[in-house]
Symmetry: C2
Subunit: 453 residues, 2 copies
Amino acid sequence: MHESDARLSRDCWADLKNPFRQVAGSICAPHGFKCAAVFCDIKKLGTGKGSEKGQKRDLALIVSDIPAVVAGVFTTNQVCAAPVKISRQHARKELARAIVVNSGNANACTGLQGLRDAQTMARLTASALDKLNCFKQLSLPARISAEDVLVCSTGRIGVPMPMKNIDRGIRACAPGIARSTSNARQVAEAIMTTDTHRKEIAVELKVGRSTVRIGGICKGAGMIQPGMATMIGFITTDAAIEPRALKRALKIATEKSFNRITVDGDMSTNDSVIALANGLAGNSKSEIQRSQFQNALNFVCLELAKMIVRDGEGTSRFVALHLRGARNDREAEAAARAIANSSLVRASWCGGDPNWGRILCALGYSKADVDETIVDVGYARLGTRKILFAFRHGRPTNVALKTLAKITAAPDFDLHVDLHRGCGEFVLYAADLTENYVAFNKGDVSDPETLGG
Amino acid sequence: MHESDARLSRDCWADLKNPFRQVAGSICAPHGFKCAAVFCDIKKLGTGKGSEKGQKRDLALIVSDIPAVVAGVFTTNQVCAAPVKISRQHARKELARAIVVNSGNANACTGLQGLRDAQTMARLTASALDKLNCFKQLSLPARISAEDVLVCSTGRIGVPMPMKNIDRGIRACAPGIARSTSNARQVAEAIMTTDTHRKEIAVELKVGRSTVRIGGICKGAGMIQPGMATMIGFITTDAAIEPRALKRALKIATEKSFNRITVDGDMSTNDSVIALANGLAGNSKSEIQRSQFQNALNFVCLELAKMIVRDGEGTSRFVALHLRGARNDREAEAAARAIANSSLVRASWCGGDPNWGRILCALGYSKADVDETIVDVGYARLGTRKILFAFRHGRPTNVALKTLAKITAAPDFDLHVDLHRGCGEFVLYAADLTENYVAFNKGDVSDPETLGG
């Protein structure tokens, strides 16, 4: 396990004799979760492009066979999308049944109509699922209502939701839901926007005598930073867990994963991580607290988060930045973010340049207390503990830039910064700034289709 | 005059019947200032490149014939260069005689030796000037001492100062000092690092019956942002002014100019603006307060600051961002900086994309209080007052992106954002993020000479 993961474990519910292990699949790996995805022409609405079925799925449903304990963590951006407002409300309840998600349209900055549209998406999903035989057979007491459905959207800002397509999509999607790895794969694809590949993971752990599984998928590549990203993440588990315990566990895991990555410093309007726990593993709820569940959930979220950084728009380098010795953790985070969001530092990473001068400069304007005469800056190969210092005790070392560049020219490296002012620590996963990022995001006035995206 | 300049005038010492006017030249336009620049092999030390004399000047002296009132504004970066520390100290006094400046080496992160080197630069300059006949003839009471000299350096961080070259450079430079426009032009060239052209300006105004001139040069292209930039600015004036009044005037002018620009959000270790006022215009000091002096100084600094943005590394667009309606000026500034430092917003400007969704997203994560349902976002052609709104009263307007893009595709445009929450205002001059910026700053591992710069 990576050093930082090991560190995360320390402050969690630990049971190191009984570790979790990774298994195949993602959100359908736990018992009692079904899903499906379809194309309903939201991703390239009106352009006639990309309508080949199967390639550009843009609407998906994730359903638990029985009511599941729900937890959600959402963007802290003041300008937040309509589906975030609806899902935040529905996640306050103890139980939920399903998630409906679309890509291609963020339903953000769409006013009252946007809120109505997000509510309609929940209602349409509830009514489509309610008609399915597979759930009728379970003879559950209550019908699925709109409040049991969480809604997520990702894509363009400020464009009205094409509700006809959404309606058609949900009706087409519902009958196809199944517990299948290939369906889960299609859902992981359907939530992609600028992502270049699917992001999925599943783990298995023992809770007492029961085997519990946690599965997850996510999306995100640009607008990635602070209090979460343009990212959407879905976690399913068959663990039996108290609602309050799940909400707390998801908050901790998010703090240690999705809130520790940055691609471009932009926090999106639609960031959401939603967890559903349906209890079908049959474990005792009291045993969860003594188990590896939190560690496993941290691991799932951190691996998904790292996949987002690695797939960052146009990025060519993945930098694990270890900031130590700040006066407190808050200052460590401020210092780490100043470095990882500096355009100049990120541009130097792009060229594989171990430019510590720009790092010191960014430290100097961060809100952390910095005394340049005692700072250390060093680099390490991915996964090794041997740090090669470029700057130590406030002085440049004798290590040649060329030697350091052998480390920083790799697609993955660790950056270690020690301020020697206290015990504050923060780990941040960051990416470089490339010409491709700019080319990707700049739009082209000669092609209006590329504008406003 | 530009609208924002007109706004600046309102809160200054105004005498609109008697405006200032631009004149030719720069720091030698005011009476009693001499300067010279030489090449002494700092810019490309050891590579053998760029040694053609006249093309790569890297050391300059600016001298006042008689002791001049001095004011300085320096970087707020905690990691600040040795010359900044020395100049800050020397600028606390009332009077100074000269400035020595080099490019090619920032003398930052160089420890105690760096401080000693900066002090030596002041001492070498004082002793070289003291030997000159031109000053001996003025039969001034006191000799020039090291404390009368301010020191500025700009260039690479973390490289020891090549003091032999500096010594040689100062000795070679001193005898050449003269009050000549071509010398001033050479000094403006000598302070350039990644700048593509000289930045110089001079104005003239009446103070009572006297004619006062203010001249200025500056440099800066990358690491440009908040509490000043990687910039160095020198202002000379022959106005007679009290030391306290000059310090206050320079602070106000800097607030309204160099602190209102951003290229890449990085604040440098070496930012310095120094003003010298030698009183040779012969005006009465009391008249200064009733004159246009502050307006003229604001204008000089703002024009120089705008030149920096226009010459921003790799930039292709100059955006004057007018943020209004924040709860207070501080929140207006926070909102403006969130927009202008967003990688996504800046990448969209590069493509000429009027992407208001990204602007709203950045507003949402700024520290300003934002209610998306009442925000306005609009664009205007440079210098016109007609705003074409993309988003008004919290809704997208009917104006087509294509129509908006006709404005944003120009190399200069105004962006107007109104939060409708109060009376807070801020104007920020910003630049786009281009592939060229990244290419320029990324270094190249195959060429160690490009690393660490």
